[in-house]
């Protein structure tokens, strides 16, 4: 099944017959979709349906065994892995912050390219995710929700073309979940950021995304405007 959005902004990401099979086990099969600049796409499905496997293929943490992804029209096999991953920022279910301060974590991505992230930019990014004045805090003393918001800000520090969020609130309690969700919503709204959110939470998918894909056994079984797809 192919999903093409009706919005007419330039296409940032396009999956073409994307698939991955490992030892005869199909993880992702023949996935086709495209996402325009500023669009927010939710990928939903039950546990083990292949949502995370699909997201890992999008920023090439795993290698597809078929198909490809076009990033701004360029086949991602022709883009250097490090540059591709900078363009497609990723936030994982667990935040995995590096030891040190919040600012150290935000500086990590740009430092890989030899850039020094100015303190003002760090403060701006932290304000966007509701963590004003957190830059000097030790990451060891953060709550789960705060750590996940730092993880979002850290991905944004790389100025990505699109943000891939993998179950960003699944490991959090209800209060922290709302904090992270509203921080993500604010970033999407303020920056007009292109996003893909993987979530098993249908209500969350409906709140965050305009478009949605439902994945089962690694295949897209429903696709279209979030309101319609998630109601079905």
């Amino acid at each position: 099944m192919t999903y093409v959005s009706a919005v007419t902004n330039p296409v940032v990401l396009r999956a073409e017959h994307l698939g991955r099979t490992v030892r005869d086990k199909i993880l992702v099969e023949d996935v086709n979709f495209e996402l325009q600049k500023g669009g927010v796409l939710a990928i939903t499905g039950s546990s083990g349906s292949g949502k995370t496997s699909l997201l890992r293929l999008l920023n090439r943490l795993d290698e597809p065994t078929s198909g490809t992804v076009l990033v701004e029209g360029a086949d991602y096999h022709n883009i250097e892995a490090r540059e591709l991953r900078r363009k497609l920022g990723m936030v994982t279910q667990r935040p995995y912050l590096f030891p040190g301060s919040v600012a150290d974590n935000l500086r990590f991505g740009p430092a890989q390219r030899g850039e020094i992230l100015p303190l003002e930019t760090i403060e701006e990014l932290l304000t966007q995710v509701g963590l004003k004045d957190y830059s000097r805090r030790d990451v060891a003393n953060l709550s789960g929700g705060e750590a996940q918001r730092v993880s979002v800000a850290r991905a944004l520090a790389n100025s990505p073309l699109a943000l891939l969020l993998d179950e960003p609130t699944a490991a959090l309690d209800e209060a922290a979940k709302l904090e992270v969700e509203s921080a993500v919503q604010k970033v999407m709204r303020d920056q007009g950021l292109t996003c893909i959110v993987v979530t098993h939470d249908i209500a969350q998918a409906a709140r965050l995304a305009e478009q949605a894909l439902v994945v089962e056994h690694g295949r897209i079984v429903r696709a279209g405007p979030a309101g319609e797809v998630l109601r079905a």
Binding site: V22, L61, E63, T92, Y96, F98, F108, Q112
Partner: protein, 262 residues
């Protein structure tokens, strides 16, 4: 007590080996009570070790009068065997045998060559092979420790490594903390041996030299020489092995190949 019953040196040797082997049985029984099964691995390792050391002893006896270059062949064979043994500790790691053999050859081999050429190790086959084998065996243990630790750390921190990759880090840099930890951990036995020399233990080589009539001070100094060479060859081996393996846990597209449950 055994000497009362066994008068031939060979019989006494086998009796001593049997008694020593029985003491390992105690460890196996104690481990079994805690649900850890070491029976087959311990039995195979002991039988193998005994057969191998008798075989090497017999070969040394034959080679006593052989030309000196034959010790080079013997040591090269030992390096390959050490590489194969060590690689088994790095289950699931790509090219573990090549990495281990190469690291031991460069680590132990270069120190043996250098020390022999400088006259620190005597070129006589009866000296070069036993001392060389000590360096190779210790390099093998260090390599096993380094690879085993690296493997465990990468598996335990796959999330952190992939987070670094996802933020645009170079693959080799994303595992740097685990490379360093593996290198340091692998050298603990060599450092402790050097540190406790003469206080906690008096190694067999020194005892042997004393028994064969060497002056005690020279025997003691030479023991230090051997341990310093062991440290140098082990350190070099671990350095080479961790340097070689760090890039091999990634695909050409900088994807982490070593993953839990894969």
């Amino acid at each position: 007590m055994l000497r009362l019953f066994f008068h031939s040196q060979l019989q006494l040797g086998f009796a001593q080996a049997l008694v020593a082997a029985l003491s390992t049985l105690l460890v196996v029984v104690l481990a079994r009570r805690r649900g850890i099964h070491l029976e087959s691995e311990t039995l195979i390792a002991m039988v193998r070790g005994l057969v191998q050391i008798i075989a090497v002893g017999s070969i040394l006896l034959i080679l006593l009068h052989a030309p000196r270059w034959t010790s080079g062949i013997l040591l090269a064979g030992m390096i390959v065997a050490a590489g194969a043994t060590s690689a088994r500790r790095a289950k699931g790691m790509p090219d573990a045998f090549q990495v281990s053999s190469c690291a031991i050859a460069l680590g132990a081999g270069s120190i043996i060559a250098l020390m022999t050429s400088l006259g620190v190790i005597d070129t006589a086959i009866t000296s070069l092979v036993p001392v060389g084998s000590m360096l190779i065996a210790n390099a093998m243990n260090t390599n096993s420790l380094a690879l085993n630790r690296f493997r465990s750390d990468v598996l335990a921190h796959a999330g952190e490594i992939e987070t670094a990759l996802a933020l645009g880090a170079e693959a080799r840099n994303s595992v740097s903390p685990y490379v360093q930890a593996s290198f340091e951990a692998s050298l603990i036995p060599a450092i402790d041996s050097l540190r406790s020399l003469g206080i906690v233990w008096i190694p067999g080589l020194m005892a042997g030299m004393l028994l064969s009539g060497a002056r005690p001070v020279y025997a003691a100094i030479y023991q230090f020489v051997v341990l310093a060479m062991i440290f140098a060859s082990s350190g070099l081996t671990s350095l080479v092995s961790t340097m070689l393996i760090r890039g091999r846990v990634f695909s050409p597209a900088e994807q982490l190949l070593l993953q839990p449950g894969r």
